[in-house]
């Protein structure tokens, strides 16, 4: 009577030992990465979270400050009109007044533009045209070039006496005019990222089974209908990926701004990521705590926006996990 249960117990024990061994092997392989991950990611984020509740200028030890850092970043007092002679609230409204709207504007323009352009490019590159490989290489080239180098090239192209103004006979001071500077940076980013996104779309396009196209052709669908009813729905997971990556990247835009305008002129290109850098490293009196607080606010914004976007895309169809 007891024999079967004993056997099963032995089996379980053996299975357990085997599992443990496998887990051990897995963790051994993971160890180098895990070590780096724990120190440079988990610990750093944890410490930054602690710093966000302190006042810290790097030169003297951090002082506990509670939510004051968050209060100063959000600067809620500045959201509402103030009586004429009331004292100004002690906080920095640069986030609410400039960085937040700028970042949203940037994302709202760059994400759709780069998604659309890269989709069109991928579609074109998927056709059987001459020099297809050459074109693919050309379009992908900006993505493998350093963003700093590209930014510097654009600074030249868009200088008042630069190529762009010469070709189009314009007299626009692209990077030094608050009306144009931000759009110029958007162009740079769309130019750099479209290549990578094109490649992702291309992979997605080639994943679509040819049988679907054949069936549609037999049913008498025209090119546009095939694109609208076969290609787009089949690409939905890829579109989700591209838009998500695009949104996260746009919310964190920094290097082009650092190189091309340093947040200026007149704060017209100050984004959240640039503001974090400014507070943490550029100011004479460093505001590390306030910068950390803003970093967590940015993380929260990205989280919420990505969740919302997931809802929207999932709502209009299924997203394969």
């Amino acid at each position: 009577m007891t024999t079967p249960s004993t056997t099963s117990m032995i089996l379980t024990a053996r299975q357990k030992a085997r599992r443990r061994r496998e887990a051990l092997t897995a963790y051994t392989f993971l160890l180098p990465y895990l070590f780096i991950f724990l120190i440079f990611t988990v610990f750093s984020i944890g410490y930054a979270f602690y710093l966000s509740f302190t006042r810290y200028n790097l030169l003297s030890p951090p002082q506990w400050w509670g939510l004051e850092g968050y209060r100063r970043v959000l600067c809620i007092e500045s959201w509402f009109p103030r009586p004429e002679n009331a004292p100004k609230p002690v906080c920095d409204d640069l986030f609410i007044r400039k960085a937040l709207p700028n970042t949203f504007k940037y994302t709202a323009i760059v994400v759709p533009a780069q998604t659309l352009i890269s989709l069109v490019l991928a579609f074109a590159m998927d056709q059987k045209i001459r020099f297809r490989r050459l074109f693919r290489t050309i379009f992908y080239l900006p993505s493998v070039t350093s963003s700093v180098v590209i930014s510097l090239i654009f600074v030249w192209l868009f200088s008042p006496l630069g190529v762009i103004n010469q070709i189009f006979h314009l007299k626009i001071n692209w990077l030094n005019d608050p009306r144009y500077a931000f759009y110029t940076i958007m162009m740079v980013n769309i130019f750099t990222t479209s290549g990578t996104l094109m490649l992702i779309f291309l992979a997605g396009l080639q994943d679509i089974p040819i049988t679907l196209y054949e069936a549609a052709a037999i049913d008498g669908a025209n090119k546009f209908q095939i694109f609208r009813y076969i290609t787009i729905p089949m690409l939905r997971p890829v579109i989700f990926f591209v838009v998500t990556v695009g949104i996260i990247g746009c919310f964190q835009v920094f290097d082009q701004i650092y190189v091309m305008t340093a947040g200026g002129p007149l704060d017209s290109t100050t984004t959240i990521a640039y503001l974090i850098y400014k507070w943490a490293f550029r100011d004479t009196t460093v505001k590390m705590g306030q910068a950390s607080a803003l970093a967590f606010i940015l993380a929260l914004i990205i989280f919420v926006v990505t969740m919302l976007q997931r809802r929207v895309i999932e709502g209009s169809g299924s997203v394969s996990q």
Binding site: L59, S60, K88, V90, D92, P160, L161, L175, T284, T285
Partner: protein, 440 residues
Amino acid sequence: MKVLRLTLFITALVALLLAACAPATPQVIEKTVEVEKQVVVTQEVVKEVPAERAVVRLSGWAASPEETALLQSLLLDFTAENPDIVVKYEPITGDFWATLKTSIAAGTEPDIYYMDIFQFPAFVQDDVMLPLDDFMAKTGTKKEEFIPSLIDAFSANGKVYGIPKDFNTLGLFYNKDLFAKAGVAEPTDDWTWDDLKAAAQKLSDPANNVYGLGVPADAGRFPIFVFQNGGAIMTPDFQDTLLDAPEAIEAGKFYTSFRAEKIGAIPADVGEGWQGTVFGKGQFAMVYEGGWLIPYLKQQFPNINYGVVTPPAGPEGEGNLIFTVAYVISKNSKNPEAAWRVINYLTSEAAQKKVMESGFALPTRLSLQESDYLKTNPASAAIFRGALQGARPFMWGLVGSDVNDQMTKALERVYLENMSVEESFKQAAEAIRQKLAELK
């Protein structure tokens, strides 16, 4: 030659091996002296050195390979004379202040580091530097030996924290050919604002992208006009700004009037980022720049025919800015005595003379103002004189970067958005007061 060097080296090596049994370890100190840039003379010096050698780490930014080589040769001279101290030169490339501040936060900062006057107040407030007065007394180095405006800049609470290594002021650089072409008499040290404006009018030719004066929205240029008008950027205790005081607003009106009247321009108007380049190209007849423009012009625009005078005086007299950097010792230094000896050597008359003659920087010792170098280099001499004529340090207290930002923005609003000077400067002053309140 090669053989000779090899023999020398072997001799040195043998000397090292033979002496290895002796209690004090001799070391081969290799000394590289750069002569005329092409010929490198290498000589090996064998010296008895004590077994215990104090290690001193020194960090600064690396402005150029030539400047780094010069500092290294000075440090080698020092090591040859002071075998008991090892100086480790660790230049910081990239963002110096972010790197330095984070290393202070981590407690791993170098013993000696460069201190820009602009950053000085924050470092004083948090008490991370060692006062140097006691060391100075021990080696007989006197405060009075240095240019007062420089050594005072690095003093706080009655103590000296840094020994200025070099400095710069602004001079009025003018293009002699453009002056001759327009038939305008060349500027002198006695010029005033009126002369400046009259000359700019005659020199400008906007149709051909030639302007009389460069008037960038730059916080490192504009303040001298405020000083010359009897104003200041900050109150003496740095607790408030005077940017919205009548003197500053009037100076702002004068400064921005050049561009409004098309007799001056900002570098971006002619497609450049820095007016030094525009000046080199002959598009700005006059610019306010520091001594750094001299080697730049020599390298990039060797054919330009230019002169330098001290900035023209305003209604209330002379005014200039001092940009200066000092050597300071970290409070955490384990060898402060040794560190002081390094600083004392690097700022000695002999070392400063060497640096000056290389053309990189101006000396901070008063005794060098009569040197032959300054007599034969009138451009550098004009920059040097600036320090003695109503010059104030380029430093605005704990909110320095914000004050700079706001000054730049105040000018940009006038230039790019046609805002009135009064309104724009008032906004800037309010923003600075806001930043001061945030410090509390």
